[in-house]
Structures are given as structure tokens and as C-alpha cells.
Symmetry: C2
Subunit: 307 residues, 2 copies
Amino acid sequence: MSIVVVGSVAFDSVTTPSGSVEGVLAGAATYFALAASFFAPVRVVGVVGDDFTSEHEEVFRKRGVDTCGIERAKGKTFRWGGHYLDNLNEAKTDYTELNVFENFQPQIPPAYRDSEFLFLANIHPRLQAQVAREMNGVRMTGGDTMNYWINSTPKELAETLRMVNVLLINDTEAKMIAGVANLPRAAQKVLAMGPQALVIKHGEYGATIFFREGAFGMGRHPFRAPALPMEEVKDPTGAGDSFAGGFMGYIASQEQLNREVLKRALFYGGVMGSFAVERFGTERLQSLTREEIEARFQIFRELTHLE
Amino acid sequence: MSIVVVGSVAFDSVTTPSGSVEGVLAGAATYFALAASFFAPVRVVGVVGDDFTSEHEEVFRKRGVDTCGIERAKGKTFRWGGHYLDNLNEAKTDYTELNVFENFQPQIPPAYRDSEFLFLANIHPRLQAQVAREMNGVRMTGGDTMNYWINSTPKELAETLRMVNVLLINDTEAKMIAGVANLPRAAQKVLAMGPQALVIKHGEYGATIFFREGAFGMGRHPFRAPALPMEEVKDPTGAGDSFAGGFMGYIASQEQLNREVLKRALFYGGVMGSFAVERFGTERLQSLTREEIEARFQIFRELTHLE
């Protein structure tokens, strides 16, 4: 079953303790699409500028990702520059050039309308809500957001949350939305705002999924997936979007939506995030094979599995 | 099989967002002993002052803990006062009165010498090394330390690490000892200093055990146990010592020492830590039953278990 992802396609310049790269293909929708493409057909809605070449296009094409929803606008593609110091969990932004992304108006191609899954990557919540309304026949809508929208557009974010089935955010974002410091209590408060399930990503410690009472017939018990302790993290950029791609992609590959599927999806999310950070930009996602994914899934499973 | 624990017995005054208590029985050795007592016989080596009454003694006695190694000295028992703000992971110290603990010289009673397990709670590494030397016939020595000793007595700590089989510390301490920001790399560096296994406690995210190559015949693959997302943490004090008590206690209750035992021990550590924080001081550990421990172990297991 197909997934539509709406979000940024960008060129990133990133410096980490392991090195640096200039203007590599990146953006939330890109990471998501490449990661999800190992599990299900993916369709992208985004915008790029004249500097987006056939070489960039080829990265999507090789993974079978449908790019007919990527609008070509006059001007430059969204560019982000940032660096990470020793604390790889925290990106420091050097510059943000929105360029053609500034006036992004997501257009869903007619051919995308039969998609059964929708992922709203981190963009203005007003745009997220617009797309969710247009695609309201989907089986599941996933979404992401960030501190900027939580602080500056809380009302519009609240509106979007009512249309999202599964929200994927990190600890800090969950506590900010809820205004509560305790994680499970923050989770309950976010769930009361709309989503049936809430995935909280803990970076190197894995992720937890919390369920609204009765959602998916799964009760309220949370579930946790570990993350693999990684000896080398070259570039943490895109880990969260790759996580979301693995999570939504795995769900879209399954007939049923039940607790066991969501649990495995959480593991696959962690697996895809762990690959993404092994190389700069999307390099590792581009070279990846399904066999490598399955092998790492087994390692993740063994990591916490009691006989 | 019996465990000797050497460490502090103290009276704590603690304020958290949930309330406050004055002068409650606490200290690393106390938390450890109570937690471990649900699994194996425990013997304590420590020092208290005249203010340690038969009521306090009774807390140990009720759990069958041997206190003949607790020296009664003239003066007051070690007192610690601290508070936690919204971030329950970080204790702010209001005062530390070492009192009789200042000149603590651990004396191992002859009756303790047949013990098969030893836990060196967080005290001066010179004292830890002394005890480890005296008790060098044990099957396994566990140990803890803290930032203060890592910074001020690195040489003495290094000496102690050569005598510890399993070190139990948190992320920050591991990175400080190793001088390395990446967790699995820091772990390998700490393991190279002596311990065969290193348990790194991640607070609300659980714990990871790393093995030295060949240690316990278990290869180098780490293992992770989750922690239960807790809606109410009344008092985080003693969580780490209770974790260590559950971990060492479970190991001491088993005939064999193999990977599966160590994995389960890590889960039991998390279980005991999760109980400790539910009430102020050692209150919850005092009221606990083995049935409650088993029930929570199953919840921890379910939390990450894939079919």
C-alpha cells in the first residue's frame, strides 16, 4: 500500500566530529521516502529549485520513489547548514535559506489520491492540516513537528493534531506540547489532543509508543523498542525522518494493523534511523539492501530479547 | 549465595515536586541491601552514629539483612540533604554532613568472609580497593563510583577498577572515566581498564550491559533492558543503588553465571529501581513483596518483547 509524504527536499551542509559535506541531498521528505521505500511504494510531495538536477532525481528513482508530486519552482532549493559538536543529539544551525520552500503550497497529484497512508513531515501545521483534509480517506496519517511550531503556532498545531493518527516526536517536543515534565503524563496529554498513538523518539535510547485508551484495540500499555549502541555516528541529520520512514513503511507493508505490527514497526523505525547516521546525508540509505535491514532487525531484537 | 555490600548508611532530607521528607533512613548500602534481600542473603558493612535507633535496625532485620558489619561510632550518622526540580534525573545537594562516615574504615566481620558476592557501593576508591583485596576469594565483585572520585582520585579509581568484575555507573560517569563522548566507545575504554562487564544505567531509558571480549564466554555483543515509563516518580534517590541490588541479588540467586542470567539480572535491576522511586526513601522497598517484583518483571519483559 502506498504512502504519500509531504515535506522538505533540501540541500544540507553539515559538519560533525567525523567530517563535513557541502550541499548534499537531504530534507525530511527525502530521508523519509528513501527509508520507507524498502517496505512500500512511496510518493513525494515537495518543492525544489533549478539546482535540483537529474542526478538528484536519480536518487529517488533508483529506490522506486514517485517524484511527480515534487514541484519544480524558479529559484534555489531549500538549503540548511549546521554542525554538531560532541553532543551528537543537538544540531546547531549555521544558516537556513528557505528559498523556494518559503512559499511551498503542497499540491497532491491526482495519481496520489488512492494512497492509503500519509506522512506529514515537519512543515507549517497549517499546511499539514490542509493536506490531511485533502487526503482524509487514508487509513493512517502520521505526522511530525518541531519546537518552532509548538511555540509559534500552537493553535494551528492543535488543529493538525486532531487529524493525525500517529504523531512521531522526541522527548523534548512531547514535554513542550503537553507542558508537563513527566514523559508518560506528557504522552497522555498529547494523546488527549487527538492522536491515537504517540511515538516518542529517545535518540540513542530507542523509542516508546503510547496508545490512547481503546486505540487500535490495544489498551493503554506502552511498548518500547531499543536503539543499538552505535560506535560511529557520522551524521545524525535525518535520523528521526528515517525512523518515521521505517515505521510508516513497515505498517504500510502489512495487511493488518495490530499491536504486534506497531511493535515491529517501532523496531524497523530504529533500524532505519541507525543506518541513516552511519554516513553523511542519505548516502547509507542509498546503498542499503533489504537483507541488511533484516539482519539489523534481528540484532535489535536480540538486544533486549529474554528467552 | 551471600552478598556483602560496603557503603553508606545515611539519613536523607529530600524535597521533590511530590513533597519532602526529613531524616529518613537511606544511603547507598541501605538501598542496595533492601533491594538485593529479595533475592539473596545480604550482609552490610558500614558505619552509623548514636542517632541510629532500633527502629532503623528493624528495617534491615525485617528483610533478613545481616547488620553485624554496621559499626556503631560516637557521633551522628552521615546526613545528606538535597532536592530535585522538574528534572528528576538531577539531584541538587543542599548539604552533606559526613559525620561518622568521614573516618569510615570498613571492617569485614569474620562471619562475612565466606560470602560469594561483593558490592562496593560509592565510597572512596582507596577503601573499595582495600575491601576488594580482603575479599579476593569472591565469585564476583560489583562496584559503583561517582563524578567526585573520577575527577579527584583517578589513580586510585583505576586501581579499584582492576579489581571489579562488574562496574555499574551512569552514562555521564562512563563518558567521564573514558574521556570519550560516544557511549559504546567509552564502554570499551572502561572495560579495558579492568571490569569484565560494564552496566551503564540510562535512568528512565533503562540500562545497557557491555562485555569485555571473552568475558563470561559471552562475546562482545551488548544487551539492553528497558525501564518502565513511570507516571509518578516521588523520589529518585537510591534508584541506582536499588538497581545494583536487584542486579547483584538476582545473579547471587542463580547457580550459573551466563549471558541469560546477566540479561535477566539487568531486567531485575530496572524493576527494583522502578519500585524504589515510587515512594520517598526506602519506603517502597520496605513494603514490597516478591510477587509484586515478579509481576513487574513480566511488565518489563512485555514492554519490549516481540512475538
